[in-house]
Chain length 204, copies 2
DNA sequence: TGCGCTCCCGTACCGTCAGTACAGTTTTCA
DNA sequence: TGAAAACTGTACTGACGGTACGGGAGCGCA
């Protein structure tokens, strides 16, 4: 029971790294079992097929993602009472966290499964959708809190602003990878941060 | 010669649609030859291997991409002398173009090849990088023109702002696909447009 | 008329990979 | 100590990427 979880986690670790680097199709089960030191039968004991591996992978990824956001924006909220300040601090903390990754962000599993959508079943596509909706709810609530205190200088919807956070993160990851410049992602997040500050800055 | 080009284009058409929908790995050569009505030997006459197909695909995609940007921002420049107004009009035109795609943006090949980077050779990764750099040059020049006339309200670098255009486009595509909401991409572009307007709006 | 070139077909084959089937073995924990 | 959990081993199937190579239709040209 305990051992099973451990092996399962080892497979997921190897799979996540490989999938983010090479994509779903280019990652073979054979290579995963070599890396984790089990046999093919062992692999299929844990996962019925490759699709179920992808599902477990995505599930774990999203949970971890949520945990990180909880921590960062929770900490930011401790540092400032004002919702705008807290959000700006959160973006800064997130940018710093992303800067500290030596090889840049490893990639977002949600994005990789989006760009290869038809390779996966409906269940995975729905998990992806729910993840994006959770981001919208999370950041949307923050923007609504901010709007209770500050009047935006442009009439923008809280949900659209929330989606902008996801957009900048996902787009930043793509751009960073394309340019091979890890710094681009945290930089783009800071540009967005400037925009948010400008948007809610009281008219002089 | 003429016939060869035609067949080649037909393969590329089928491949592009399939790759954007399913990803690289999930697109089989067998299915491409069925769709284009040629044989396997015929396919390998045109492309040495799958990687070379990807290269030709990316090349064609980037050229087309550049052409579209040339048209849209060229047209925008005709409609307004002021560089800021021209850029804002360009973003609006681009947003409208993206809105008019019935099934949403089919996906960016640069992004799909980024999320599967190790599956491709260095040449393709370099093409991807050059494409992103071209976007930076293109939009960077526009922001520099704008900055000659308008003082930004936040100290932001023209190149970082240029990267923001790419970021919003790539991120918007990912988000649109994840959410299954084609409208998200053009919406996000308009949110970014508001930010740009706000950034260069003369202080009241 | 026939030569050569482009463009493609047909066939046979190889290695890799996902996945199946199932019997047997070790490990773990109650 | 015994049953369940966690594997191993072997043998196979079918799809796919890719190779090899001979052949042939159509076309331009001398």
């Amino acid at each position: 029971m305990r051992k099973g979880e451990e092996t399962r986690a080892k497979i997921l670790d190897a799979a996540e790294a490989a999938m983010l680097a090479k994509g779903f199709g280019a990652t073979s089960i054979d290579e995963l079992i070599v890396e984790t030191g089990i046999t093919k039968s062992g692999f299929f004991y844990h996962f019925r097929d490759k699709n179920e591996l992808a599902k477990a992978l995505l599930e774990r990824y999203i949970e971890n993602d949520e945990r990180i956001y909880d921590e960062i924006f929770g900490r930011a909220r401790e540092l400032a009472d004002d919702p705008l300040q807290a959000f700006l601090i959160g973006l800064k903390l997130l940018s710093e966290l992303l800067s500290d990754l030596p090889n840049g962000h490893p990639g977002c599993l949600v994005a990789t499964m989006c760009t290869q959508e038809r390779a996966f079943d409906r269940e995975i596509q729905e998990m992806n959708r729910q993840a994006a909706l959770m981001w919208r709810r999370r950041f949307g609530a923050m923007f609504r809190d901010i709007m209770q205190v500050y009047q935006p200088r442009e009439a923008l919807d809280a949900d659209q602003l929330a989606d902008m956070v996801s957009t900048v993160l996902e787009g930043g990851i793509v751009l960073s990878k394309a340019l091979k410049e890890p710094k681009s992602l945290p930089d783009q997040l800071l540009v967005f941060r400037s925009f948010v500050r400008l948007l809610f800055q009281p008219a002089a």
